[in-house]
Symmetry: C2
Subunit: 144 residues, 2 copies
């Protein structure tokens, strides 16, 4: 969804700086006050997971340097790894051209996925065979 | 959001195959019938964009081998690159542990971003400085 504020930024020169507080206010949070966040391993570039932030956890992530989401199932703040130790140390946080998606590059400790897998995308479609295949197995330990 | 169907898959062995039609039916489309899709360059592993699919464009993507989204702003099917030539040839399509996010690895032709940039995440937050910085400039050509 294109937003006027972000359309205005498109032609800005490299290294132009905007106030973080101003950009945060303009982010495209949805009707539930949430924005989707892609989390990628900063070293391997593997996409680890997709989760959600609200304005508070977005700010909290930047303030603490550790990724903090909003858990839609528990309806509460979710400091990734707080119980499991599988923290995500923030390396960089980027915002997309429409201001309605976030990309976090992180140093992932342990497993990103609640199943204990390194990443969440373990089901792969094969349209030739009309199947979906399990491409990595669940380790014995788990918990996100 | 955890879904019973996907919870049941967690302990399945590697190479287990499920019917694509069955998994498609169980996907966690939101109240607008949409699911978020992360698109990643299959070679460089760069995250290119985040967009949305409905059930039809999900199926269409797998059938044609070219990524097709649902455009929320135009409220219509969006065959990526149909007007610009900046197509996304599908290399793999994966589903996450909760069945509510998709990861497409693609061969990206030209720019993924409507601003003409290679990828959409060109605004980077710097919490030390309380700024957001433009990290890549807009080429002269554009259109997604």
């Amino acid at each position: 969804m294109q937003r006027k504020y972000f359309q205005n930024l498109e032609s800005y020169a490299v290294a132009t700086e905007l106030e973080l507080i101003e950009v945060t206010r303009e982010l495209g949070f949805n009707e539930h006050g949430l924005i989707p966040v892609i989390t990628q391993d900063a070293t391997t570039k593997e996409v680890l997971m997709l989760a959600w932030m609200n304005q508070d956890t977005f700010t909290e992530t930047l303030r603490t340097g550790y990724v903090t989401y909003w858990s839609r199932s528990r309806n509460q703040r979710w400091v990734k790894g707080q119980t499991s130790g599988h923290t995500q140390e923030l390396v960089s946080l980027s915002i997309d051209c429409d201001g309605d998606a976030i990309l976090c590059q992180v140093n992932q400790k342990g497993a990103a996925c609640h199943t204990g897998r390194r990443h969440c995308f373990y089901l792969q479609a094969d349209n030739q065979e009309h199947t979906v295949r399990v491409v990595s197995s669940q380790p014995t330990t788990q918990k996100s």
